[in-house]
């Protein structure tokens, strides 16, 4: 290891050494004393000098001590450090991972604190001309401190940084870092993280020198990674609460899973989760009012923040469906069989049908386009497609079986006589496709959810199949705005919460999980409230006008819950950054030298007094 100096100019202070010698000579002014005879003293001197191993040095011990001390002080002033061999000022980008997993307490007091400490060490090791930028990476990337060489500002920025409950989006931070370090001859990106991040794909970082400071020791954690509340298929008064608990340690862990509804304990079950696996648990509980289901994992682990998750659950409301058809018994029957449905059948809709949740247009083009979500069968609204043609006997070649619309829906035995021929527009996703045209599309057009079926169902074998009523039920469920709202009442931490408004409100406020209230300023005439400060987990309550809407912020991120620190970070296909075991940071040692100097000073003081006491 090579030693260098941050302030070699301080060697000029070595000029003080001759001054000390002069002082020393002055100091040797002695107390004059008349004695009877100096004979004994001369013999004494001869004696002491004869018994000392260093005759010459003996006289100058104090001087040597002082010169040693001064040399140490001068050495300390030159601020020597080990390693690092650059001449010009460097730019460091310190990325502090402030995600939920950094709150793990496997390194005392927490991973984030350890990361902060390492970042501070990096600041301390900076040379005078070096600059640093401090980024905080959580769900969003914040620039805590723009490029500066001022260490106090950097330390302030690092100290002010707090971990969040959100997952990490490292790509954003690294992309920002890349733009910051471009065109710098020496730049380094220091990532202080535990590596509990999504795979960083598609980011070419071969050109950025990333130093990965691995924080954390072990992965002893249990976490709630999934929570879902579904209506019970048989009993509308009951709900099925589905929770998945992941064990990210290596041993089998035992934990108590508790379910609460509006803070009322409903059930508690003991789970045995083998290491590295997930355990699913389904609670079937009655629900009589709108409220919040909360599952809590009572377990001692390194990351407490992921031991709880909440979900807003609303009572089922009847779906109001307007069917406009020239006559289709299959369709009418299918819709009628859906539970909680109020079906109204007309030949042609009048007005905008705002009171309905879903409008089904079976080959009918209304004069006034309805405001509600639309299931359009064999209808092409102007503006949806560029051009509309006809195709006969389209063969189904592709089915998106994983889409919610196609749950339990099988198109294998469906034949179609003829269909509209369109090109897949940008607003929609093809669900069922033939070679020439998409047959079923799902998407959102002009703030309206649309499921489009491009053929007359009566000119196909589809209504004869069991898949037909199931698809209709799926479509109504998918288009039902209430269910969509319920899904939107749960957001992941760090993501914004949107509340659509039916009419503008003068003001809104949000009550945070810790009980504080935040007033929101709304733009005039805004039809949507956007709340972005969702860094903390828990149940929020937004009050807009007279309505009060609860919403939940959950982590529910298996990547964050898997807190075992990673040795390497994978960057796309090519780049891999290994954790640096030894810190690349320069280690300054001037404090130690100054302490040694102080020690020598004390020793010199003691030595002098021992001689003269």
């Amino acid at each position: 290891m090579e030693m260098s100096f941050l302030s070699p100019a301080a060697f000029a202070f070595a000029a003080a050494i001759p001054v000390v010698i002069v002082f020393y000579l002055l100091k040797r002014k002695r107390v004059v004393r008349l004695v009877s005879s100096s004979l004994l003293w001369q013999k004494f001197l001869a004696e002491t000098q004869a018994s000392a191993p260093f005759q010459r040095l003996r006289h100058n011990w104090l001087l040597i001590l002082q010169i040693l001390m001064l040399a140490l002080v001068v050495l300390a002033l030159t601020r020597p450090f080990f390693s690092g061999d650059r001449k010009e000022g460097a730019l460091y980008v310190a990325i502090l991972d402030a995600s939920a997993s950094m709150q793990a307490i496997d390194v005392a007091p927490s991973r984030f604190e350890a990361a902060r400490e390492e970042a501070r060490d990096l600041v301390s090791s900076m040379k005078d001309r070096d600059q640093m930028i401090v980024l905080r990476a959580a769900a969003n990337t914040h620039v805590l401190q723009s490029g500066t060489a001022e260490k106090s500002a950097l330390r302030r920025a690092i100290d002010a940084c707090e971990p969040s409950d959100s997952p990490t989006r490292l790509v954003e931070a690294l992309k920002l870092a890349r733009t910051l370090v471009q065109n710098r001859s020496f730049a380094e990106v220091h990532l202080f993280s535990d590596g509990a991040v999504d795979e960083i794909e598609g980011l070419q970082i071969a050109d950025i020198p990333v130093v990965f400071h691995k924080i954390g020791e072990r992965g002893d954690n249990l976490g709630v990674v999934q929570l879902d509340v579904k209506a019970h298929p048989d009993d509308p008064t009951r709900k099925a609460v589905f929770a998945s608990v992941g064990n990210y340690s290596e041993q089998t862990r035992r934990a108590q899973l508790e379910l609460r509804f509006n803070n009322r304990m409903l059930a508690s079950r003991t789970l045995n989760v083998p290491g590295g696996t997930n355990a699913q648990e389904v609670f079937t509980v009655p629900q009589t009012e709108d409220g919040v289901f909360t599952v809590t994992l009572a377990a001692e682990d390194d990351l407490p923040v992921d031991n709880q998750a909440s979900a807003v659950s609303l009572m089922p409301r009847p779906v109001k469906v307007l069917l406009a058809t020239a006559g289709n018994r299959f369709l009418e029957k299918s819709l009628k069989s859906i539970p909680h449905i109020e079906l109204n059948v007309v030949s042609s809709p009048v007005g905008d049908a705002a009171e309905y949740d879903v409008v089904v247009l079976d080959g009918v083009v209304p004069a006034v386009w309805p405001k509600a979500n639309v299931l359009a069968i064999n209808v092409a609204r102007s503006g949806w497609f560029d051009a509309v043609g006809q195709v006969e006997y389209p063969a189904i070649v592709d089915v998106k079986a994983t889409h919610a619309l196609l749950r339990f829906v099988n198109f294998d035995t469906v034949d179609i006589a003829k269909s509209l021929q369109v090109k897949t527009p940008s607003w929609a996703l093809p669900i069922v496709e033939s070679q020439q045209t998409p047959l079923v599309l799902a998407g959102e057009f002009d703030r309206q959810s649309v499921v489009w079926v491009g053929f007359d169902t009566l000119e196909s074998t589809w209504p004869l199949r069991i898949a037909y009523p199931i698809f209709m039920q799926n479509a109504v469920e998918w288009l039902n705005p209430a269910l969509a709202n319920a899904a939107e009442l749960t957001v992941r931490s760090g993501e914004p919460f949107r509340l659509p408004l039916t009419e503008p409100v003068p003001g809104a406020s949000v009550e945070l999980p810790d009980g504080t209230t935040r007033e929101l300023t709304l733009e005039e005439g805004a039809m949507e409230i956007l709340f972005g400060d969702t860094a903390r987990l828990g149940v929020y309550r937004m009050t807009a006008g007279t309505n009060s809407t609860p919403f939940c912020v959950n982590l529910l991120d298996s990547v964050e819950s898997a807190i075992k620190p990673r040795e390497t970070l994978e960057f796309g296909k090519y780049g891999t950054v290994a954790a640096t075991g030894s810190k690349k940071a320069n280690v300054e040692i001037w404090r130690w030298i100054a302490m040694a100097g102080l020690g020598v000073l004390l020793f010199e003081w003691w030595f002098y007094h021992r001689r003269t006491a």
Binding site: R30, V35, S38
Partner: protein
């Protein structure tokens, strides 16, 4: 009879002492010491043949009656023991609490008194020479008889210590100048840079019965001035720089013991009675015990 030097009580006790002469006196003056010379005394020594002119009073008539031959009875002549006290009155003796010189003076007075009481001749040779005190000093040469004691004490009291002594030269001159060889007592601190060996050697070589008493001040045996010191020799004016602290005291004391030990060894090898006394020692202790132990008197 009292004096500031010695208490009358002490003097009374001193009167009982008698200086020890290990050799027969060579003095020509009559005294109380047996000598090699034959003369008038009560102590029978030998017979010799009568020759013409011998004093008939000393013929051994009993022997003449038995043997019919004339023999002369010889008696031991009793002579005095000339006592020379070499008293160091140099500047260095003026130091110490109590002053070394005072102590030495008291010793000299006591020894002188014992000698005077024994009808011995006492010479105090204070060195170095001092012009102002030349009268006193010459008056202290060849003092004899108990009646001279008062004057002797007065003179000793008036001595002062000053100047730079040449120990060796003084002893050499004293040895050569002495008309009669007798006992010599050296009272000094023996802190002469030139050493002491030559002077003592000359005294011993001349036939003196030499006793040496080294007087050191308590400060010299155990210094109490610490720190960075520039020490100035009172006699030579030589400067010595020394840094001294409590922790080096044992080194110093070892050195002093070494120095005194060497001196004692030197003296022993030449038959010189020797001991070291601190000027703070009780005078009676020295006079009544140490001097007897050193066989200076009994």
């Amino acid at each position: 009879m009292s004096s500031p030097l010695l208490t009358s009580d002490l003097l009374k006790r001193l009167e009982q002492f008698q200086l020890l002469a290990r050799r027969r006196s060579k003095s020509s003056a009559k005294g109380e010491r047996t000598s090699r010379a034959r003369g008038q005394s009560v102590e029978f020594a030998d017979h010799r043949n009568y020759t013409h002119g011998d004093d008939l009073r000393y013929l051994d008539w009993n022997l003449f009656g038995r043997l019919d031959r004339l023999f002369l009875k010889l008696y031991e002549e009793e002579r005095e023991l000339p006592m020379t006290v070499f008293l160091d009155a140099s500047e260095s003796m003026a130091f110490g609490t109590p002053r070394k010189f005072d102590f030495a003076r008291q010793l000299a007075a006591a020894i002188g008194y014992v000698a005077l009481c024994g009808f011995d001749r006492v010479s105090i040779r204070a060195f170095p020479d001092n012009e102002e005190e030349s009268a006193i000093r010459s008056a202290m040469r060849s003092v004899r008889g108990r009646k001279s004691a008062l004057r002797f004490f007065q003179n000793i009291t008036r001595l002062t210590a000053s100047g730079m002594a040449d120990f060796n030269e003084t002893l050499r001159r004293g040895a050569l100048e002495a008309r009669q060889v007798g006992a010599a007592i050296v009272l000094s601190d023996f802190l002469d840079p030139a050493g002491f060996e030559e002077g003592l050697n000359t005294l011993v070589g001349r036939g003196f019965q030499v006793s040496a008493i080294q007087i050191l001040a308590p400060e010299e045996l155990e210094p109490e001035t610490y720190g960075d010191l520039r020490l100035i020799d009172s006699e030579t004016g030589a400067q010595t720089e020394v840094t001294f602290g409590r922790y080096r005291l044992d080194i110093y004391q070892r050195m002093v013991a070494n120095f005194c030990g060497k001196l004692g060894e030197f003296c022993k090898s030449r038959g010189v009675a020797f001991f070291t006394a601190s000027s703070a020692t009780d005078l009676e202790e020295v006079l009544l015990k140490q001097l007897r132990k050193a066989e200076i008197w009994r």
